[in-house]
């Protein structure tokens, strides 16, 4: 498990900036349009994942052999890293929403 955590961190190193950028876009979209359009912000996040995957597949596919030689399928690493990022995104949205609807926020 410890080894998989390190591998996921290494795998995400070239991707985290892209994830952060699309999370900011998504949050900004929710702030502008309201939580009712949350599902649209999910499609923004999905576009980010697609872009990151295509970028790696095109520019650095050779590094997949490093991860495969650790015994892990690349698909599994993508799935885990995107799942973790998506959960973080949901947590950010939840924090934003609870801040907005709390009595203190209404002032």
């Amino acid at each position: 498990m410890h080894k998989l955590t390190i591998l996921l961190l290494q795998f995400n190193k070239p991707l985290w900036l892209c994830h952060l950028m699309f999370s900011v876009f998504g949050l900004y979209f929710v702030m502008l349009n309201g939580i009712g359009l949350l599902i649209v912000s999910f499609s923004l996040k999905l576009a980010g994942y697609l872009g990151a995957t295509l970028y790696q597949n095109y520019f650095t596919p050779q590094i997949y052999f490093y991860y495969r030689n650790t015994g892990n399928p690349v698909r599994k690493l993508y799935l885990y890293s995107y799942a973790i990022d998506f959960l973080l995104y949901l947590a950010i949205i939840a924090v934003y929403q609870s801040t907005l609807t709390s009595p203190h926020a209404k002032g």
Binding site: K3, I6, L7, Q10, K13, P14, T60, Q62, I63, Y64, F65, Y66, R68, N69, T70, G71, N72, P73
Partner: protein, 216 residues
């Protein structure tokens, strides 16, 4: 024992591999030779599990293997560099190297000299040496090496052959390279791929008979 049987591979209707059989057991080095484009690299990728042929049967100890790399059964040294450029060597090596062989691996001067560097800071030859060492010291029982001698100097090749002989005690190695003399020198058995078929080579003279070499 690693057994590869009945591999069939075609690209755009052209048959590349069609009558393939090879096996390898821990303790031996199997050398694969063949002309450019005969399918040597493709065969290694099929065994590793990253290239899907039309048909294959690969087993380890009589158990069918779908993807050789899953669970660290088979490791693979590709022709090109495979280490991510932005991670230091000392962070990647523990992910690949078997824990029980760590001290022996970490004692290599190449590792000690470059452990804190990223692959982007090293020369092609230095990266290749480290990549080979990490694969040879991985926990995989079977190791596939595609052109390990191509980007290294003759002195480095001699050192590397000594390491191969040391590591083969517990592993089965399948090695292919165009530098056939190194392959002939280091291998216990030679297999030639000719017109998509594997041919077991009993005597080096047969390489001339099959037209792979003009003379020995």
């Amino acid at each position: 024992m690693l057994r590869v049987d009945s591999v069939q591979l075609a690209f755009n209707g052209r048959k590349i591999l069609q009558d393939i059989y090879l096996d390898c057991k821990p303790g031996e080095i199997v050398g694969i030779l063949g002309r450019n484009g005969c399918g040597k690299s493709s065969l290694l990728k099929i065994i590793f599990g990253t290239l899907n042929p039309d048909y294959k049967y690969i087993s380890i100890d009589d158990r069918y293997v779908k993807k050789g790399y899953v669970g660290n059964q088979i490791a693979y040294l590709p022709q090109h560099h495979y280490l991510p450029a932005n991670i230091t060597i000392n962070k990647m090596a523990p992910m690949l190297v078997d824990r029980k062989d760590w001290e022996e691996f970490a004692a290599y001067p190449t590792y000690q000299a470059h452990a804190h560097k990223k692959p982007g800071e090293l020369s092609g030859g230095e990266i290749r040496q480290l990549e080979m060492l990490m694969i040879l010291y991985s926990s995989a029982t079977y190791i596939l090496m595609d052109e390990p001698f191509t980007h290294i100097s003759p002195v480095q090749a001699d050192d590397f052959k000594a390491i191969l002989r040391k590591r083969v005690k517990t592993k089965g190695l399948i090695v292919t390279d165009h530098q056939y003399q190194n392959i002939l020198e280091v291998s216990d058995r030679i297999i030639l791929i000719e017109n998509g078929h594997t041919k077991m080579i009993a005597k080096h003279e047969e390489l001339v008979t099959y037209g792979y070499l003009s003379g020995i």
